[in-house]
C-alpha cells in the first residue's frame, strides 16, 4: 500500500478533491452549456458562468426530436434485457452450479469462452438472422441477444457455487422439486447478486450502441444512444442543443447515482469480481 507520507492534511485534500473535480469537469461543462444562451456557447472564449439560465435549448430540442420517445425506447430495451437475463440466467446458473451432471464444468468453461466473442461484430449476419425471425426494428431484436451474456452467467454461477448447501439439502429431503428450491431457497439468499446483475445489465443494455444502430433503424424505435448520434452532423443542431440532449440523456443516471451511489458501485464491484 502506498503511504504517500508527503500528502497530509490540506494538501492531501486538495490533491484528491482536485483530481475528482478535474475528472468530472467535462460533465460540469456539459450541464453549464446546456443552460447557457447560444452566443455564449458558440463564443470562442469560454464562459463558465452563464449570464442567464435558459431552458430554451431543452424546449427546442424536444420540439425537433422525439427525445422522450428515445428515453422510453431505451428504458424498454434495458428493462426487458434485465428481466429476461435474470430469469434465463437463474436457471442456467442453477443448472451449472447446483445440479450434477457429466460435462457440466466443461460446458461452463465453453460458455465462458463466449466472453471473448465480440457478438456485435457479427452484426451483419445477425441482422439477417433477426430479419428472418421478424424481429428487425423491434426491441426484442435488441434485448434478446443482451439477455444471454456470458458475464451474467459467470456472475450468478459463481455466486451460487459459493452458497452453503444446508438449506437446500433440507429442502430436498422435504421433497422439494427444483423450482421450489430455487424460489424458496436460492433466490432469496442471492438477492445481492441479483441486485448487482440487474444494475450491470441495465446499464449495459441502456448504453448499447452498435447492435442498436444496426437493428433499430426506423426513427420511431431509436434508443437514446442512436438518437443522440443523429444529433451530430445534423444541420439544424449545434452544440447548444447537443449538450442539452446529452444532459437530458444523462439526467436519469445522474439522479440514480446521486441517491444510490454506494449501491451502484458495490453492485458493479460484485459484477466484476467473483472469486
Amino acid at each position: 500500500m502506498m503511504t504517500l507520507g508527503v500528502l497530509k492534511g490540506p494538501v492531501k485534500y486538495a490533491v484528491y478533491y482536485g483530481l475528482a473535480i478535474v475528472w468530472i469537469v467535462p460533465v460540469i461543462w456539459m450541464v453549464a452549456t446546456a443552460v447557457k444562451p447560444t452566443p455564449e456557447v458558440m463564443s470562442f472564449t469560454p464562459h463558465w458562468l452563464p449570464s442567464a439560465i435558459t431552458l430554451d435549448h431543452f424546449r427546442t430540442l424536444l420540439d425537433k426530436r422525439p427525445f422522450f420517445l428515445w428515453l422510453f425506447n431505451s428504458f424498454q430495451v434495458a428493462f426487458w434485457a434485465t428481466v429476461i437475463t435474470v430469469v434465463v440466467t437463474t436457471f442456467a446458473a442453477y443448472s451449472l452450479s447446483r445440479l450434477k451432471w457429466r460435462g457440466r464444468d466443461a460446458l461452463f468453461l465453453l460458455l465462458l469462452a463466449g466472453m471473448f466473442i465480440p457478438w456485435e461484430i457479427n452484426a451483419i449476419p445477425l441482422f439477417f438472422i433477426v430479419k428472418k425471425i421478424g424481429l428487425l426494428n423491434t426491441f426484442a431484436g435488441v434485448f434478446l441477444p443482451l439477455s444471454a451474456l456470458p458475464i451474467s452467467l459467470f456472475l450468478l454461477r459463481q455466486f451460487f457455487i459459493n452458497l452453503p448447501t444446508d438449506l437446500e439439502d433440507a429442502a430436498r429431503l422435504d421433497g422439494c422439486g427444483h423450482f421450489r428450491i430455487l424460489w424458496h431457497v436460492i433466490i432469496p439468499v442471492s438477492l445481492p447478486a441479483y441486485g448487482a446483475l440487474a444494475i450491470f445489465i441495465f446499464i449495459f443494455a441502456w448504453n448499447e450502441f452498435f447492435w442498436s444502430l444496426v437493428a433499430l433503424q426506423r426513427s420511431d424505435v431509436r434508443t437514446i444512444p442512436i438518437g443522440l448520434k443523429t444529433l451530430v452532423a445534423a444541420s439544424d443542431i449545434q452544440y447548444d442543443l447537443m449538450m442539452a440532449g446529452s444532459f437530458m440523456a444523462t439526467l436519469p443516471a445522474l439522479i440514480v447515482f446521486l441517491i444510490f451511489r454506494r449501491h451502484v458501485i458495490s453492485g458493479i464491484s460484485m459484477a466484476g469480481v467473483q472469486r
Partner: protein, 319 residues
C-alpha cells in the same frame, strides 16, 4: 460445490425422516434426474446464446463467401471477398488503426483504473466515497454522450481544452483532425469513460489482499514502493492481466466513439475495422465483404484472447 450425500443433520422440517429419502435413495434419484433437468434449465440460455452469438459466426462466414444481395440473387464467389479485401490498402489501414487504438487504450484504462484504485485504497479521507463516485461516474454515461461531449470539448474553435492549452502557451494540436493525434485522443476519451469500472474492480481486488502482509513487510522495513512491487503487484497480477485481455477484446471491437467523434477521419486515420465493416455494409451495401471483415475481426479477437488466456495462465481467473 454441491454434495450428493446429505449431511447427517439434514432432516425434514417436520422432524421426521421420510422412508424413501434415505441418503442412498436420494443420491440415486439425483444422479438420474440431474442430467435431464440440468440441460433443460440450461436450454433457454443456450437457445438465446446459440441463436444470437454462435449462429451468426457460421452464417457470417457463409455470407462472406457470396456477393450478398438481400433483395435477391446472391452469388457464390468463394474467397473473392477476402482476396479483394487483402488487396485494398484501406483494409490494412483499418487493421493497423484497430491495433494502434487497442494499444493506446489498454495501458490508459488499466493504468488509470489501477492508479485510482491505489489512490483510494484504505485511505482515510472524508468524502472518499464522493471522490470515488466522481471518478466512477463517467462509466454510467452513454457512448454517444461521451463522444458528443468530448468532440465539443476538443473543438478547435469553441472547445475549452484547446483554449486553455493555448492560454498556457502549450499550443494545441488538432486533436481530432490530426492523423497522429486522433487515435490516442479517442483512446484517452475511452479511458476517461471506462476506467471507473476497472477502478472499482481493482479496488475490490486490493481489498482482498490481507492487511497483515503489508504490516509485516513494513516491520521488515519495506517502504511503499517495495511493498507495491513485492506484494501488491504480484497478487494483483492475475486480475490485472485478465482485465488487460478483456480490455483488449473491448478495444478491438470499438465502434461507437469513433463513428460519432470522427467517423473514421481525418481521411481514414481513425477508421477501425468495426467502422470499416459498418461502412462497407451500410454505405456501400456490400454485405458480403462486410461479413468478411466481420469474420476476420471476430477470428482475431477470439483467437488472440484465447491464446492470451492460456499463455498468461489465466484459466484460474475463470474459475
Amino acid at each position: 460445490m454441491s454434495t450428493a450425500i446429505p449431511s447427517a443433520n439434514a432432516v425434514s422440517r417436520s422432524g421426521k425422516v421420510r422412508p424413501d429419502s434415505t441418503p442412498a435413495a436420494a443420491q440415486k434419484r439425483w444422479i438420474q434426474d440431474d442430467a435431464v433437468v440440468g440441460l433443460l434449465f440450461l436450454l433457454p440460455y443456450l437457445v438465446l446464446w446459440g441463436l444470437f452469438a454462435v449462429l451468426p459466426i457460421g452464417y457470417g462466414f457463409y455470407i462472406s463467401l457470396h456477393r450478398w444481395n438481400p433483395i435477391g440473387g446472391s452469388k457464390f464467389i468463394g474467397f473473392e471477398n477476402y482476396t479483394q479485401l487483402f488487396a485494398v490498402a484501406r483494409f490494412w489501414n483499418a487493421l493497423k488503426n484497430t491495433f494502434v487504438f487497442a494499444g493506446c487504450v489498454i495501458p490508459l484504462i488499466l493504468g488509470l483504473g489501477l492508479g485510482f484504485a491505489l489512490l483510494l485504497h484504505r485511505r482515510s479521507l472524508r468524502g472518499a466515497g464522493l471522490i470515488e463516485g466522481a471518478l466512477f461516474f463517467p462509466y454510467l454515461l452513454n457512448v454517444s454522450v461521451v463522444s458528443i461531449l468530448w468532440a465539443f470539448l476538443l473543438d478547435p474553435n469553441v472547445g475549452i481544452v484547446p483554449y486553455y492549452m493555448r492560454l498556457l502557451g502549450l499550443g494545441s494540436p488538432d486533436f481530432l483532425n490530426s492523423p497522429v493525434f486522433v487515435l490516442p485522443t479517442i483512446a484517452f476519451v475511452t479511458a476517461w469513460w471506462l476506467c471507473g469500472y476497472r477502478m472499482v474492480v481493482f479496488r475490490a481486488g486490493l481489498n482482498a489482499i490481507p492487511q497483515e502482509l503489508y504490516e509485516s513487510s513494513a516491520i521488515d522495513g519495506a517502504g511503499p514502493i517495495r511493498q507495491f512491487f513485492s506484494i501488491t503487484l504480484p497478487l494483483m497480477k492475475p486480475s490485472i492481466l485478465f482485465a488487460a485481455v478483456l480490455t483488449l477484446v473491448g478495444g478491438l471491437r470499438t465502434l461507437g466513439q469513433v463513428i460519432i467523434m470522427t467517423n473514421g477521419g481525418p481521411g481514414t486515420s481513425s477508421e477501425v475495422l468495426a467502422l470499416y465493416m459498418y461502412r462497407l455494409a451500410f454505405e456501400s451495401f456490400n454485405f458480403g465483404q462486410a461479413a468478411a471483415v466481420g469474420f476476420i475481426l471476430f477470428a482475431i479477437i477470439f483467437v488472440l484472447s484465447m491464446v492470451l488466456v492460456r499463455v498468461l495462465g489465466l484459466r484460474s481467473e475463470l474459475n
